[in-house]
Symmetry: C2
Subunit: 140 residues, 2 copies
């Protein structure tokens, strides 16, 4: 099983490139998409929510959110704690989410074409386990 990382990583650049081309049509990139995706699927969120979920430092999230605000895909809503900035998708944010989501799913299908179901299944399940192990090592 030597070479696991190498095999894993060799997929990364072609994949992220394709995703960025796809999202680029809507002036998005995967890093922006991640924010949209999170807010859509977790409801109104603070920057810390997003930051800690993806393990990305706050300044990076600040930047992404600012861009999404400029693009009017995301807006701030009032909250009790006035330190926090709570954001949610705007209507056009929702729209673009649906569109991109569909396109990404389509791409997923194309990429998994002709690959046996059971293999994909197994791979699919492996990722969370690996991430678990990666995190555990962290705390050790």
């Amino acid at each position: 099983m030597q070479g696991f990382f190498r095999h894993y990583l060799s997929v990364y650049r072609p994949l992220i490139t394709k995703l960025n081309v796809l999202l680029g049509e809507y002036d998005l990139s995967y890093s922006l998409w991640q924010v949209i995706f999170f807010v859509k699927n977790n409801g109104p969120s603070t920057l810390v929510d997003i930051s800690s979920h993806y393990n990305i430092e706050k300044p990076s999230i600040t930047r992404s959110v600012h861009r999404l605000e400029e693009m009017l895909l995301v807006k701030q809503i009032p909250g009790k704690d006035r330190r926090e900035k709570i954001i949610e998708l705007t209507d056009s944010g929702e729209e673009i989410y649906q569109t991109c989501r569909a396109k990404i799913t389509e791409l997923e299908h194309m990429i998994m074409k002709d690959i046996p179901e059971n293999m994909l299944e197994a791979a699919f399940q492996v990722f969370p386990l690996i991430r678990e192990n990666l995190n555990n090592k962290e705390g050790k």
Copy 2:
């Protein structure tokens, strides 16, 4: 099987971070390691060899190779075509290859701990197939 990309990508940052910490002990990073790895496993190579294997543009490879030369891990050897720059590992390059290779394999084992063999096997086989599909879409 929706969410395949997301699951895949959620592993990337923790993994590459760990690798970069590991390699950082030897003043390397994964991008430099890729060059060392390629040259070790493919014998003396030109920058174009490396560039086209990883689908990374030449200037990026130029930069990496220059760094490795400064670190004396890689050296140029004479070739017939005087446009080409053919490089191979130096002795200390070989040494550091062996060391890092061992460390990476060790990390691989730790990360795959307690994950059923058959799942890993399947995942392992899936990566090349996915890359294939990604590339085919390219040419279409």
